[in-house]
């Protein structure tokens, strides 16, 4: 069953088209990633789903029912972890979680149990009497998450929860999200960090300018582009006696232009770029890409350092679809 079903959503801010006929379907129990650069419409789409924003056209159905600002029955089943830490500075960790949980759960005894579970989930047991001002950035993020999930929602929106978080806390947050899914929650996760999305999301939608550019599993998305392999070769110093100044690449690289051209002419090679001493060769999926490229370079007496060979990333997917880097 679709937990979220959005059809043709259009949202305008005066002249700016924030969402342009946006469609989204999220299945129950999956972690769905919304990937896109800042301003691509991720947060706007979440705000529309939560009925915090009105929209100009389209429909939003959550749990099979139409969403509206007064659909408190639906809101009760949803949790939100906003991008900015949204807690009350004057209240302690426990009081904050209890306060936000009380907006969903009236029964005090049940709430006490839920708050304890949330504290345990984000491992803030030692800090329950602390006020937010005394917590580190990572602990604050964990508190932010606890406030959003304490009432055990069935659908949770995580809006860039790892921005400005140290790697250790980031891993803890990502592991926590996977645990929530394991407990039955459906998660919508927005980020512009492709590694995170690749790590935890079952399906991913790539957004830009309010539009869904592509969606599917990470493998499906990677297969959907021409790039099948990326070879990165570190060149060691000038490439031998034949490397004369007049024959060098205009970008100042350590390889003569004609050898770059020779690489480009190889079968399955899509693009060759040289940045400093790093040579990147993008190829279609093929069995002999690496051996062909190395043979070509050796023929030109290039001195080679480290060589890595990797499948395409979501950044490659974004680059190929939009023509620019994801973090532009």
């Amino acid at each position: 069953m679709d937990v979220i079903a959005i059809e043709g959503l259009v949202k305008r801010y005066d002249e700016l088209l924030a969402l342009d006929h946006f469609d989204l379907h999220v299945d129950q129990g999956e972690i769905f990633g919304l990937l896109g650069p800042n301003g691509s419409g991720k947060t706007t789409s979440i705000n529309c789903m939560l009925a915090l924003l009105t929209y100009d056209r389209g429909s939003i159905r959550l749990f099979g029912e139409s969403m509206a600002p007064t659909r408190y029955d639906l809101k009760r089943r949803i949790g939100i972890v906003p991008q900015q830490v949204a807690v009350i500075d004057e209240l302690t960790v426990r009081e904050n979680i209890d306060y936000f949980c009380s907006l969903y759960v009236k029964d005090r005894a049940r709430r006490r149990v839920l708050v304890d579970e949330a504290i345990e989930f984000v491992e803030l047991e030692e800090f329950v009497r602390f006020r937010p001002g005394k917590l580190s950035g990572g602990l604050l993020r964990r508190l932010n998450i606890a406030c959003g999930i304490a009432h055990k929602p069935e659908l949770i929106f995580f809006d860039e929860p790892t921005v400005a978080v140290d790697p250790q806390s980031r891993n803890a947050i990502l592991t926590g999200i996977q645990r929530l899914r394991a407990e039955g929650a459906t998660v919508v996760y927005t980020s512009h960090y492709m590694e995170e999305v690749e790590q935890i999301c079952d399906r991913v939608m790539i957004m830009d300018h309010g539009r869904a550019l592509a969606q599917g599993t990470t493998d499906e998305l990677k297969r959907s582009i021409r790039t099948g392999e990326r070879i990165v070769i570190e060149l060691e110093g000038p490439s031998g006696p034949r490397a004369r100044p007049d024959s060098r690449a205009s970008d100042g690289g350590a390889l003569p232009t004609r050898e770059l051209e020779r690489l480009r002419a190889l079968p399955h090679v899509l693009d060759v770029s040289l940045a400093g001493n790093l040579l990147t060769v993008s190829c279609e999926a093929s069995e002999h890409n690496l051996t062909d490229a190395l043979a070509s370079l050796r023929a030109g007496n290039a001195r080679l350092g480290r060589i890595t060979c990797a499948p395409p990333t979501l950044n490659d997917v974004f680059l190929e679809i939009t023509g620019r880097e994801l973090r532009d």
């Binding site: 915090l52 939100i80 830490v85 949204a86 009350i88 004057e90 936000f100 907006l103 969903y104 959003g148």
Partner: protein
């Protein structure tokens, strides 16, 4: 209910504001009440005597009569009629004023009084003590004016006859009776002063503390989280205001207890409990104004620093216009007219009416009721602006 409870928790987590705005300002009110109210009726009242150098350049009977009369009320000092000596008397503080009766003054006064012309004026130079000099000058002018009036009434009498009659009149001393005011009446006036001053305490404390609570709950990210929850924004606002209303009630209770205790109005509670209750009810009604102001400011996005500034300046201006610092009767007509547009004026009116009444009758209730109604209207008007701001902000996520 938890929203209301947490609103109070947030307020209590700002103890410094509670100490400064409630504790310190109410103590300040007590001190000012002591200064203004005094400790009770004085045993006797002494009319201040000014030291006057009287220079008689006229030598007429009128001038002599003036000198006689002034010597009864002021202390006359003899100084040579030379400019340097006269200036020296004032400069060295030997005298408070120099009064010169110019030549021809007596005749000119008699003529003017009988022909309806303009009365001649005495020449006066004042020293450092302006108040004593002004008083002496006023007495001299008044005496001259009395002689002129009597001369006008006796058109055919000689100057001696007129002055003789004046002397007889001046010998009649007015009968002075000292009325001992009841201790309750003094306590009531002290309490009235204190409660009027407390408009500042109540305004600043509620605007700051309730404003901080409401602006905290209104921070954009917190608000977004709250709006996503299954609670209507109406209920959210209602519960947070309810929390602040409890806080406002607490402030009023504290102010009232301190006021009753410090003014010695405890005895009033048994003899004039209804009057005291009405005065405190006026204070509570007045608290609605800063409460609605705090709500509006929070909805408009004002934060802690701005709230402090507005509360202090607004509180001072409002309490000033309510007559807390200087009695309204001493202010100009324009200021009094402006004061009518502040809720503190109506609170002052209600408090003084309630505590000044011998008994609570329909007339007192009507006056206080109208005052409280006007105060409530102020609160409603301000709250309406806040509700509009809140409505507009709901759309900004």
């Amino acid at each position: 209910m938890n929203i209301c409870k947490r609103a109070l928790t947030i307020a209590l987590r700002h103890p410094l504001y509670l100490i400064i705005y409630i504790g310190f300002l109410s103590s300040m009110g007590v001190v000012l009440m002591g200064e203004a109210g005094g400790s009770g009726a004085r045993e006797a009242t002494e009319v201040p005597r000014a030291r006057i150098v009287l220079v008689d350049r006229d030598g007429s009977a009128v001038a002599q009569s003036l000198e006689e009369m002034l010597s009864q009320t002021d202390k006359l000092i003899t100084v040579a009629d030379e400019p340097l000596a006269l200036q020296d008397a004032l400069a060295t503080d030997k005298a408070d004023a120099v009064l010169v009766i110019p030549a021809g003054f007596g005749d000119a006064l008699m003529d003017a009084s009988r022909t309806g012309g303009e009365l001649p004026e005495l020449e006066i130079a004042t020293g450092g003590d302006m108040q004593a000099a002004a008083l002496a000058s006023q007495r001299a002018s008044r005496t001259a004016s009395l002689i002129a009036s009597r001369a006008a009434l006796m058109p055919h009498a000689s100057a001696e006859q007129v002055l003789d009659g004046m002397r007889k009149l001046s010998d009649i001393a007015p009968a002075v009776e000292t009325i001992q005011t009841a201790e309750e009446s003094t306590a009531a006036s002290r309490l009235a002063f204190y409660l009027t001053f407390s408009s500042y305490t109540v305004t600043s404390s509620i605007v700051v503390v309730a404003g901080v609570v409401l602006s905290t709950l209104n921070k954009p990210d917190v608000r977004r989280r709250q709006l996503a929850a299954p609670v209507s924004s109406w209920r959210m606002g209602f519960e947070s205001i309810a929390g602040c209303a409890v806080l406002a009630l607490g402030v009023c209770a504290w102010v009232a207890l301190v006021g009753i205790g410090a003014s010695g109005a405890g005895a009033l509670l048994s003899s004039a409990g209804a009057q005291v209750a009405l005065a405190i009810a006026s204070l509570c009604a007045f608290a609605l104004v800063p409460l609605s102001l705090a709500y509006t400011l929070a909805q408009c996005g004002f934060r802690e620093e701005a709230l402090n500034a507005i509360a202090n300046l607004g509180g001072m201006v409002m309490s000033f216009l309510g007559g807390a610092w200087v009695p309204l009767s001493l202010m100009g007509a324009n200021v009094r007219a402006v004061a009518h547009f502040t809720p503190t004026f109506w609170m002052y009116d209600a408090v003084t009416c309630a505590l000044g009444a011998q008994e609570v009758n329909a007339s007192v209730l009507a006056t206080v009721g109208i005052d409280l109604g006007i105060i409530a209207l102020f609160a409603v008007a301000i709250m309406s602006a806040g509700l509009v701001a809140a409505r507009l902000r709901v759309r900004e996520v």
